[in-house]
């Protein structure tokens, strides 16, 4: 069966309701393609071309489309959430490496990892409101719950920066540790977690001024977070250690579980029933499936080269991080390319 036939089959499957509810998208960053996986059969249904060097993807505020950041072609590629078909291409989005919408859906922000700038767009029409050049490889982004501030980790300079969304100006830029990557705002809106990929720990940061309030050892190459969905626990990929940790953020953060995932574990997503965590294994060209209750690997699916972002098509309902706080930033992780 040639690729076109597979593509046609895949689209027909994705178009059907059953297939849609069952599908997972994975971005193969080094072969300019995305894989469509079946959750029930744990197989790759199709692999389709998409842009160049796609790394992360995000659900649109209206929940109708998935936007893929094609970094080397400076564009967003939109897939229909219902049909899986390509809807449109948004051009002129420079180096959209990591991307996210503010919780109120008004702002769209990209971290241009290679080009060293942070772009803040009016989400309506993707009109550029401001471009802030900042040294240090901007990688991950997170928002406060009031949609006033966006936080960006600077992987090379070891800093965390905060920008005012309305004025597109820098609020503060402070050191937090070696090679910060994943960043997440906790539901209380008073603490942020930052993963230090150049170290073996995460730090707790005060969103007011970026001051480091605490530290937790997790594993070498602490990299990115994904909310478990109960407002309290977060998964963390540790790329060099080859481990995914489960962190309890009630009171002082602590590790309450872990599972060995070799091959540079990176981005994550959870099945709609909340029972499985799917983790991209960048180096092994696979996606690992973890049973969340037992924290054991129960399967894996072969995909393309350097799989990065992963997204459950069923998860069209906004993923919540705790007390109803919508998390619009791409839930998948950034790595040191």
């Amino acid at each position: 069966m040639n690729r076109l036939s597979i593509a046609a089959l895949a689209l027909s499957l994705v178009t059907s309701g059953a297939a849609r509810a069952d599908s997972v998208l994975v971005l193969n960053s080094e072969e300019a393609s995305y894989s469509i996986l079946s959750r029930s059969t744990r197989t790759e249904v199709a692999r389709l071309p998409v842009g160049r060097e796609p790394h992360h993807l995000i659900l649109s505020p209206d929940g109708k489309e998935v936007l893929i950041g094609s970094t080397a072609t400076n564009e967003l590629l939109s897939l229909d959430i219902k049909t899986g078909e390509r809807k449109r291409v948004v051009k002129g989005i420079l180096d959209p490496y990591h991307l996210g919408f503010s919780p109120d859906g008004k702002w769209f922000v990209t971290a241009a990892y290679r080009l060293d700038h942070v772009d803040i767009y009016h989400a309506d029409g993707f009109r550029l409101a401001g471009r802030i050049f900042i040294d240090g490889l901007p990688s991950h982004i997170a928002f406060d719950t009031e949609s006033k501030t966006v936080f960006v980790t600077l992987q090379q300079s070891g800093r965390l920066a905060a920008f005012d969304l309305a004025t597109q100006t820098l609020k503060w830029n402070v050191p937090v540790g070696n090679a910060p990557a994943g960043v997440v705002m906790l539901p209380d809106d008073k603490r942020m977690l930052v993963a230090l990929t150049g170290e073996d720990r995460i730090v707790t940061v005060d969103p007011k001024d970026g001051s480091v309030k605490g530290s937790l050892q997790t594993g070498k190459g602490a990299h990115n977070f994904f909310p478990k969905g109960d407002g309290r626990h977060y998964f963390l990929s540790n790329r060099i250690e080859g481990v995914v940790s489960l962190i309890d953020t009630k009171d002082e953060p602590k590790v309450v579980g872990s599972v060995r995932i070799p091959g540079g574990p990176d981005c994550m997503d959870i099945t709609p029933d909340g029972r499985e965590l799917w983790v991209t294994q960048r180096f092994l060209r696979r996606v690992a499936i973890v049973d969340i209750d037992t924290m054991k690997v129960v399967g894996n699916v072969p995909v393309g080269k350097s799989p990065h972002g992963v997204f459950m098509l069923k998860s069209t309902a906004t993923v919540t991080a705790g007390t109803g706080v919508p998390v619009r930033a791409a839930s998948t992780a950034v790595d040191p390319k």
Binding site: E30, R52, A72, L94, D335
Partner: protein
């Protein structure tokens, strides 16, 4: 196929996670984390290439040698050193470290301007739907760039001063392809990387193109009188075709080395009028005593000597002063 991929990436990941990433992490070099993983694959591909050359291609040379063993046999040893240094990535690593910042700066500047390379998939969308066709199209384009770079090596005096090292070998064999001055390697690499970025070759494709292309080039230097037939010799560079490019010039064929430049696809020589097809065998090497003197020298001495040749060609005044002394 998937089993082979699993074995390959399994070994690659194990080597990287066991030997490379702990070192990068320890020394705070996480910016090299992803390139480091690619470097491991490069070394693994190098091992495969050396095995293919040493076992597969050498079989044909031993079984059906064009030039029999003789007094020049020892000259081949240094070419083996070149091959190992190149295939295992030591020379490419140095070149990568030197060129990476420059390539990055150029790429970032171009992208900052909002310029997007005219990718083929935009012009011909069907290319992107078929991995094999996509690979072949980019391979052909890559080879076109390599063809013109090769012509540049012969056209400019200063560049020929470097490239003549490659041609000075009297015993052209499967090991000869990597016999190049490091500056020559650097210039070619820079040219090909920039071209690849311009047309939008993906990193994964680039590695495969590089590996397949270099293997074909190694084979085209084989010490065998092999042709792929009338049609085959017009589709793929054969040892007989490329050997004419290395032929020793004579009064009757003064410019014979200005033919058959194509690294992989002879179509470029045919299109641009530089192809010759001739079944006659000729000795190989250069008709220049100063360049021929490269033979018998070791790797380092060749590099130093050829660098001097390069400087004199680049700066004729320096050459005249040196001569006057």
């Amino acid at each position: 196929m998937r089993d082979l991929i699993d074995i390959w990436v399994g070994v690659q990941a194990w080597l990287f996670e066991t030997l490379v990433s702990p070192v990068l992490f320890h020394f705070g070099l996480m910016a090299w984390y992803e390139p480091g993983y690619g470097a491991v694959e490069f070394v693994m591909l190098g091992v495969v290439q050396i095995a293919v050359i040493a076992i597969g291609m050498r079989f044909f040379e031993r079984r059906w040698p064009l030039e029999k063993s003789g007094k020049d046999d020892d000259l081949i040893m240094v070419d083996r050193i070149y091959t190992v240094l190149n295939k295992l990535g030591l020379i490419p690593l140095g070149i990568f470290i030197l060129t990476y910042p420059l390539v990055q700066e150029i790429e970032l500047a171009v992208r900052s301007w909002g310029y997007m390379p005219p990718r083929l998939e935009r012009l011909l969308p069907w290319i992107g739907d078929n991995a094999l066709i996509s690979f072949l199209v980019y391979f052909v384009l890559y080879d076109l760039a390599a063809y013109w770079l090769h012509r540049g090596q012969h056209a400019f005096g200063w560049w020929w001063a470097l490239h003549s090292l490659h041609h000075s070998q009297r015993r052209v064999t499967v090991w000869t392809d990597d016999r190049n001055h490091v500056i020559d390697d650097l210039l070619i690499t820079l040219g090909l990387v920039l071209f690849s970025q311009l047309v939008g070759v993906q990193p994964g494709e680039y590695v495969i193109i590089l590996m397949v292309g270099r293997l074909i080039e190694s084979w085209s230097h084989a010490n065998v009188d092999m042709s792929f037939g009338w049609l085959g010799d017009r589709l793929l560079v054969s040892p007989r075709f490329h050997r004419l490019h290395h032929a020793l010039s004579t009064p009757g064929e003064r410019h014979i080395q200005n033919h058959n430049f194509a690294p992989v696809f002879p179509i470029w020589d045919i299109l641009f009028g530089t192809a010759i097809y001739d079944a006659g065998t000729r000795p190989t090497g250069v008709d220049d005593a100063a360049v021929d003197a490269d033979n018998g020298r070791g790797w380092l001495t060749q590099q130093v000597t050829v660098f001097g040749r390069f400087v004199r060609a680049l700066l004729p005044r320096f050459s005249r002063r040196a001569s006057a002394r």
